[in-house]
């Protein structure tokens, strides 16, 4: 038992020291966007063409970087302001992956382990899966996707006065001092929310990493299975609920797994995990969330397996 405590503590602290600065960076940027970016700005950037709009929405994460915890309140606000749901969902799924902080942290975490390939593959796979979901959603009725209350809000064109956690700078004539205070307060809120989930993720990872967790042996056993490994890591990503800006540091430590399985972990986690399942329920119907989960699991798993087969055959 003393050995287990010592091992857990060593792994936990090392992961915390590595990931916390990246979470801070993400939440500071998110806080500034929350206060200084007018929520209509994204809407104006999108083409009128449906497919073009979904494609551009998939790329917006590179310009408006938010992690998955921050993106849900943002898209909730944007949908209320009339952003097409297909574009909002595409942005919601792609932004946590296609943001520069995630790209940088993935690159740093995988240095010496095909960093360029892993970073590029993560961004591309994330983009294509998000756009695919967006295109499918663009053909679905709103009632099948959005919560009833949100549709009612849209029907009544209700614009709350300076309310909602994603409140942009369209709230009135705030002074620069109060805007700065709002930005720091928003950053604090984002940091503690993400930090709390990150602490859960790091705790579980440290337990698996040092062999303390009961599932660690099973995870090792499945690590070399071409289909089981990506499935297992997607399940792990779901449970760990890591922030996309720091999850690469966890993935890089999973030495017994192939890069294809790690890619599945890196793409699936930012799109669906335990905390997102709860957050999505503030916007989406439960039935749609279940369908989305199944679709993401099958498509990301399948593409990761194909990716691994391709790079195994063409090293």
């Amino acid at each position: 038992m003393p050995d287990a405590r010592q091992d857990f503590a060593f792994a936990f602290l090392s992961l915390l020291f590595e990931g916390a600065p990246f979470i801070l960076l993400g939440t500071l940027i998110s806080g500034l966007l929350d206060v200084y970016l007018p929520s209509g700005a994204m809407d104006r950037l999108l083409p009128k063409n449906r497919i073009g709009a979904v494609l551009v929405a998939g790329l917006l994460g590179a310009i408006f970087p938010v992690c998955e915890c921050a993106v849900v309140p943002v898209i909730r606000r944007l949908v209320k302001k009339g952003l097409p749901v297909s574009c909002a969902l595409t942005y919601m799924l792609a932004a946590p992956i296609l943001n520069p902080i995630t790209a940088l942290s993935t690159w740093k975490a995988f240095e010496g382990q095909d960093a360029g390939l892993m970073t590029a593959s993560r961004l591309l796979l994330g983009f294509f899966v998000a756009v695919g979901v967006g295109l499918i959603v663009s053909r679905m009725p709103l009632a099948a996707v959005l919560k009833r209350k949100l549709i009612d809000d849209l029907d009544h064109s209700h614009e709350p006065t300076c309310c909602g956690s994603s409140c942009g700078s369209d709230c009135g004539d705030h002074s620069s001092d109060t805007k700065l205070l709002s930005a720091f307060r928003s950053a604090l809120r984002d940091f503690v929310d993400v930090g709390a989930y990150f602490a859960i993720g790091v705790t579980l990872t440290a337990l698996f990493n040092t062999g303390i967790a009961p599932g660690a042996v099973w995870l090792d056993d499945v690590a070399r299975h071409p289909v089981g490994a990506p499935m297992a890591l997607m399940a792990l990503a779901y449970i760990l609920s890591l922030c996309s800006t720091s999850d690469a540091f966890i993935a890089a430590t999973l030495h017994s797994f192939s890069n294809g399985a790690k890619l599945a972990f890196l793409v699936f986690g930012p799109m669906l995990d335990v905390k997102l399942t709860f957050l999505y329920q503030t916007v989406l119907r439960r039935r749609f969330i279940v369908l989305l989960a199944l679709g993401l699991f099958v498509s990301i798993g399948g593409l990761s397996i194909l990716w691994q087969l391709w790079f195994s055959a063409h090293p």
């Binding site: 916390a20 600065p21 801070l24 890089a252």
Partner: protein, 265 residues
């Protein structure tokens, strides 16, 4: 809980993370947890968290521009404050209390301590020169005539036939941590010498081991302590696999080096 009290407590939680990062950096303990690339990032992160925590603590009572007519607080967390505090502080507090800045032998076994070099997943750009003259130019010679090597060079030589031929039978000296040899040690004359190889942080580190053969009962050396050993290197088949074995002439306890782990270059 009032929004002001909630903000004060959450700011203090952020400050506790900040103090932890800054303490480990300034005390030098960070070298055992993070690779050099990440140490500066850790320092900047600690300072950034300090700014975030102090600003929010000082301004906890001020009204921001997002105050709503219904009076609810935009600065509050999605999770209840007490849950956030528990999640952010309990694992951190326990880890600070429990950490010895090192892994136990059980965790080391999981991290490759008893793996053979040929089966290890370690890859590095470290490579030895391939002539004896090059070796003598690039490695310091000790008083007893041994060439001083990093442990990782001896470990990796097992996977390279040219380097094996060059090093086989050579008098070498190296530094590492000594632990009991678990396998193929019925006579009790063997120990294992290892160091860690870190890519980003201690969680991803792997053990780099070689076998020490004393030919008799090994001298009393502190378990998992740092030792300098010198002797003759060979690559016999042990347990059906070729392994680097150092037949020890001298072994003595030493203090730990400034950088205990090998780093990715």
């Amino acid at each position: 809980m009032s929004p002001k009290l909630s903000r004060i407590l959450l700011s203090l939680a952020v400050l506790s993370w900040s103090v932890t990062l800054l303490y480990f950096h300034t005390s030098g303990r960070i070298t055992r947890y993070l690779a050099p690339d990440f140490r500066l990032i850790c320092l900047i992160g600690g300072l950034g968290l300090a700014v975030l925590g102090i600003f929010n603590l000082v301004m906890a009572g001020d009204q921001d521009g997002h105050a709503c007519e219904d009076g609810h607080d935009h600065g509050s967390s999605d999770l209840p404050t007490t849950v956030v505090l528990l999640l952010m502080l309990v694992p951190l507090g326990l880890s600070l209390a429990w950490s010895k800045d090192a892994y136990s032998s059980g965790a080391l076994a999981r991290k490759g301590l008893y793996e053979t070099p040929s089966r290890s997943q370690i890859t590095t750009t470290a490579a030895l020169p391939i002539t004896r003259e090059d070796l003598e130019k690039s490695h310091r010679k000790t008083a007893d005539g041994s060439l001083e090597f990093d442990l990782i060079e001896l470990f990796l030589a097992t996977g390279d036939r040219d380097q094996q031929r060059l090093l086989d039978g050579m008098k070498v000296a190296t530094l590492g941590r000594i632990v009991d040899e678990r396998d193929h040690n019925a006579a009790g004359t063997r120990k294992r010498l290892y160091r860690l190889f870190m890519t980003c942080c201690a969680a991803d580190s792997r053990a780099i081991p070689i076998i020490l053969e004393f030919g008799k009962t090994p001298p009393p050396l502190p378990d998992n302590g740092w030792v300098r050993v010198s002797g003759t290197l060979g690559f016999p088949i042990v347990g059906g696999v070729m392994q680097p074995v150092l037949t020890v002439d001298q072994a003595s306890a030493v203090t730990a080096p400034a950088e205990e782990s090998f780093q990715r270059r």
